[in-house]
Structures are given as C-alpha cells and as structure tokens.
C-alpha cells in the first residue's frame, strides 16, 4: 500500500516531456542504416556539458551561450550503403508530429540534381523559438535534429566557419 503511494507520488512528480520534445521512433531507419551517429543529451547531461565548455575558447564560449538554456538535444545521423536503402515512407513518421503542436516549417528546400532535401521546423514559444527540428536527407544519408528549448538561430548559424562547419556568406542588408 505504501509502495503504491510512493509510486503515485513519483508519477505526480515526474515532469511531462515538453511539447518541443518529439517522440520520434528511429528503429526502422536504424535497422536499415550501415552507420549511425546518436547524440541524446537531456537536461542534466546538458548542464554538465556546459560546465566543461570553456569560457576562454571563443568557439566553445559561443556554444556554451547557445546551449545554456536548452532542455534537450537529440541528433541522429543515419548513413546507408546505397541509395534507396530508405524510402520516403520511412520519413513520413518523422514529419507527422510536426504537422501540429505549434510546429511550423520555416524552410523546405529540395534539390533534384543532388537528391537532397532540408526541412527546418520551429516551435513558437511565448518568447521566440521554443524548439527546433530538422529533417535533412541525401541519397545515402538521413539526419534528424530535435532541439528542445529556446534556441537562437542566428547564433547557431554563426557557428559556420567554426568546428569544421562550412561558412555561408550571408549578404547583409544595407
């Protein structure tokens, strides 16, 4: 009886996952992929990581500032041996939860020539962006990104040119 009470109390204490945290199921893609990169950082691990990011290093300081208020970072990268190992239907389950719940697609680019697509979704919160999702595909690669919490896209783009990320020259408005 007492145990049941504790379990109920624990259930009440357990905070529900924020709306920006997507419940994506990666099993299908993972089963087909030849290589997988999996980054799953929840709140406590993120807080620990920020303690280890240096304030003296310019690049690390930028990342530290960027991830400071985040609640979770989930990045999966699947590589396949040959084109066609994954199907468009495999990706539908990732798009479905982005059709509601405050999600909005801000960018959707498709290159027929290179067979690449990039879809960028944001979750609007009271104070700016509350979450970010990216579905990026190449013939032999699928990348899924879900960032939970307030994220500054400009600062994220500023990481271009650092950490081996190619810099994009953005034409500034005059």
């Amino acid at each position: 009886m007492r145990l049941a009470g504790y379990l109920v109390a624990l259930g009440l204490l357990a905070a529900p996952a924020p709306a920006q945290e997507l419940k994506w199921n990666y099993d299908k893609l993972a089963a087909k992929a030849s290589d997988t990169v999996d980054v799953s950082l929840s709140g406590s691990l993120l807080r620990l990581a920020t303690k280890f990011l240096s304030d003296d290093d310019k690049d690390e300081a930028k990342v530290k500032k960027l991830v400071g208020g985040l609640k979770g970072i989930y990045v999966k990268n699947f590589e396949f041996k040959k084109a066609g190992d994954y199907t468009p239907a495999d990706l539908e389950s990732f798009r479905a939860p982005l059709r509601g719940g405050g999600w909005e697609r801000i960018v959707g680019v498709h290159s027929t020539e290179e067979g690449e697509t990039v879809e960028v979704y944001i979750n609007n919160a009271a104070k700016g962006i509350g979450g970010l999702a990216i579905i990026a595909t190449e013939p032999k690669e699928v990348t899924l990104v879900n960032i939970v919490g307030p994220i500054d896209l400009d600062s994220l783009s500023e990481l271009g040119g650092h950490f081996g990320i190619p810099e994009v020259e953005v034409e500034k408005k005059k």
Binding site: V118, F163, I165
Partner: protein, 108 residues
C-alpha cells in the same frame, strides 16, 4: 667439519625431554595465558584505528573514482554537444545556402 657433517648434525633427530608431554598438558589445562589489561586496550585501539583507516581510504577511493567518472562524463557530454551543434549548424547552413542560391536565381 665438512658440510655433510654439519648438515647431518643440524638435521639429527633430538628427543624431547622426558617431562615434555606432561608440561604441555599442564599448560593446556591451565587455560590461556593472562595478558596485561593495557595490552588488550591497545589491541582494541589498533583494530579500531585500522578499521577507520580502511574506511577513510575506501571513502577517498570512492570519491576519487566518482570525480574521475564525472570528469569523463562531462568531457563526453561536451564532445557530444559540439558534435550535435556541428551537425545541426551544417544542415542549417546547407538550407541557408540553397535558399540564397534560389533567391539569386529568381532575382537574375
């Protein structure tokens, strides 16, 4: 005396004195030898301090292990954050680049 003789002499069987058995039995029936009270206290203290030293050493070892593990976890989490940001930023930049290319095309 050569080495053989010395060895023989050293290893030669010596018979115990005739009252040896009686003396041993008497000592056994008399019970354990009494020791001074302070000697007991000192032995107890030694045992206790050994336990304390062992406990402190174990605690220190555990603390050092926990610190080492935290350091490892922190460094791992940091490299994961950097990797995640690298992947995310590269995909964002790719989208940005394509949008720019398209806008350039539509302008020209």
């Amino acid at each position: 005396m050569n080495l053989d003789d010395e060895l023989k002499s050293a290893l030669r069987r010596h018979e115990p004195p005739p009252d040896f058995t009686a003396r041993v039995l008497a000592r056994v029936s008399a019970g354990p030898a009494r020791t001074a009270p302070l000697a007991g206290l000192s032995s107890t203290l030694t045992r206790k301090s050994t336990r304390w030293v062992a406990a402190i050493a174990a605690t220190l070892l555990l603390a050092a292990g926990a610190l080492e593990y935290r350091q490892y976890e922190g460094e791992r989490a940091k490299s994961q954050v950097l990797l995640a940001m690298r992947i995310t930023a590269s995909k964002l930049n790719k989208a940005q680049k394509k949008v720019q290319m398209l806008s350039h095309r539509s302008i020209s």
